[in-house]
């Protein structure tokens, strides 16, 4: 079987971006020194482009990486999934990166697997999955739990949308002016593929959301509190969730010892650790699942954050990661707020 067979067009796009000098480097997931590893790569040399893959495995957030270590002056190309494209928008709102200097290629995504066997090539399609070239019906249990609840399959916030076709047919669509530049640099005609059929996938995510959140909502309050207490009690304070969260950008973190909450050389208390994170990112949680993937104690953190996000999204009418001009609801007031006199906005 040929390696990375769905990534060829993607590699051509990246080669074009680098060749035409649109970007100085491209950040993407690709094969590491060991062929079986998938690692974040900063590609500068066109020879390295063929290491870039489009397989449905996404171990980490590139948006987080670039916000943490990115060179502010550089033009950077990104190969991202929709959750990461949304993370870039959220980080741009928080002045952590400037979208102007990024050229992003978004991969249309129907979920990624939470773990993959070494050497395995896995691609997830709306209702099927391809493992090492063999097409099978989709095994939803193999997907990351956050991906099962995900409702953002199309990377409309990226400059170019890139779609893997089941029969090796791939489509690229330019979403922005920068996207058209990318495609003309790569000498790829803009193809208007048929609109993907996402209704079934949307229904599936609504079902998973209803199932997981519904179960928690139906619990008695005390039962729910005890459930979360028992989950938080497992926490070993490795700070993995904080360090992997694309929205946790503060250099001077509240959870650091000798800030407001934690005395020097102490470990933050269980509940407070998670509630602090919940307060800080709950209104814009992207449901990217990085926190849960990082958690060594298997606490279903992204379920909690996503649940609060959905609740807040319904009262504030806010969807995170779509429009860079719409600011996070808890830290922004609108003109309409000034006309309301009650203790809530209803």
């Amino acid at each position: 079987m040929k390696r990375g067979k769905h990534g060829e067009l993607l590699q051509n796009i990246v080669r074009g971006m680098l060749g035409a000098g649109l970007v100085e480097e491209v950040l993407a997931f690709g094969r590491g020194l060991n062929e079986a590893d998938i690692v974040p790569l900063s590609v500068v040399d066109p020879e390295d482009v063929e290491r870039i893959v489009a397989i449905s495995y996404y171990p980490g957030s590139l948006a987080k990486l670039v916000a943490d270590y990115g060179d502010r002056g550089k033009k950077i190309g990104m190969v991202v999934r929709p959750c990461d494209a949304r993370a870039m928008v959220e980080l741009a709102k928080r002045k952590q990166l400037n979208l102007e200097s990024f050229y992003s290629v978004g991969i249309e995504c129907y979920g990624v697997v939470k773990a993959r066997g070494k050497n395995r090539e896995i691609y997830i399609f709306p209702t099927e999955m391809e493992i090492d070239g063999e097409l099978k019906p989709l095994d939803e249990a193999a997907l990351s739990p956050n991906c099962r609840r995900c409702e953002y399959h199309l990377p409309a916030m990226a400059d170019v949308s890139y779609r893997l076709g089941q029969n090796g047919r791939t489509f690229v669509i330019a979403n922005t002016e920068k996207g058209r530049k990318i495609l003309s640099a790569a000498n790829i005609p803009v193809e208007e593929g048929p609109q993907p059929e996402v209704t079934a996938v949307k229904e599936r995510s609504a079902g998973y959301q209803e199932g997981e959140f519904g179960k928690l909502r139906q619990m008695e309050r005390r039962e729910r509190l005890n459930y979360w207490l028992s989950q938080f009690n497992k926490c070993i304070k490795c700070y993995g969730c904080r360090n992997s969260c694309p929205l946790c950008y503060c250099e001077d973190c509240y959870l650091k010892p000798e800030r407001l909450l934690v005395p020097g050389e102490a470990v933050p208390p269980e509940m407070l650790f998670h509630i602090t994170r919940l307060i800080h990112v709950g209104d814009s949680c992207l449901n990217c699942g990085q926190c849960e993937a990082a958690c060594p104690m298997e606490i279903p953190i992204s379920r909690l954050y996503h649940m609060l996000y959905k609740e807040l999204s319904s009262i504030f009418g806010y969807e995170s990661g779509l429009d860079v001009k719409v600011l996070p609801p808890v830290s922004t007031i609108t003109e309409e707020d000034r006309t309301k006199t009650g203790v809530d906005l209803s």
Partner: protein, 138 residues
């Protein structure tokens, strides 16, 4: 069995609610002694963390008092407080606490009666809810 007396932590803004509470005092309006007051310069100074820390440390309820919308000494601090309180109430619900344990009230400097009534009503609500299950959890 002893009657449950809730402990309320009150964050009152310097310019309106604190003065309102003061007025309630000098005017001898009776209200339950369950509230402990912390004066803050503006209700927007109340970080959501303060509320959660109070609840985790065993307070049965938290009252945030601010100026009426449009009357904030800092023009718009109370609008932020309002959004934060809305967020916190959802958060309490999601993790399994009663959202009623947090109350936001607008009390102006001349509204001693309103302050006394707010404390009275909040104390009654909390008596109905019972002790904070998080007491001692941290």
């Amino acid at each position: 069995m002893a009657v449950f007396e809730p402990r309320i932590l009150g964050f009152l803004c310097n310019w309106c609610s604190y003065a309102g509470a003061d007025l309630a005092g000098v005017s001898r309006f009776q209200y339950p002694p369950n509230i402990r007051v912390i004066r803050v310069m503006c209700s927007a100074k109340v970080d959501p963390m303060y509320v959660m820390k109070a609840l985790l440390n065993g307070a049965d309820g938290v009252l945030i008092g601010g100026c009426h919308p449009g009357e904030c000494h800092y023009i718009g601090g109370n609008y932020y407080t309002r959004r934060r309180a809305m967020m916190l109430k959802k958060l309490l619900e999601v993790i399994g606490l009663e959202p009623e344990r947090l109350r936001l009230g607008w009390v102006s400097a001349s509204e001693g009666v309103v302050f006394a009534e707010a404390v009275r009503d909040f104390t009654e609500t909390l008596k109905g809810l019972g002790p904070n299950p998080l007491k001692g959890q941290r």
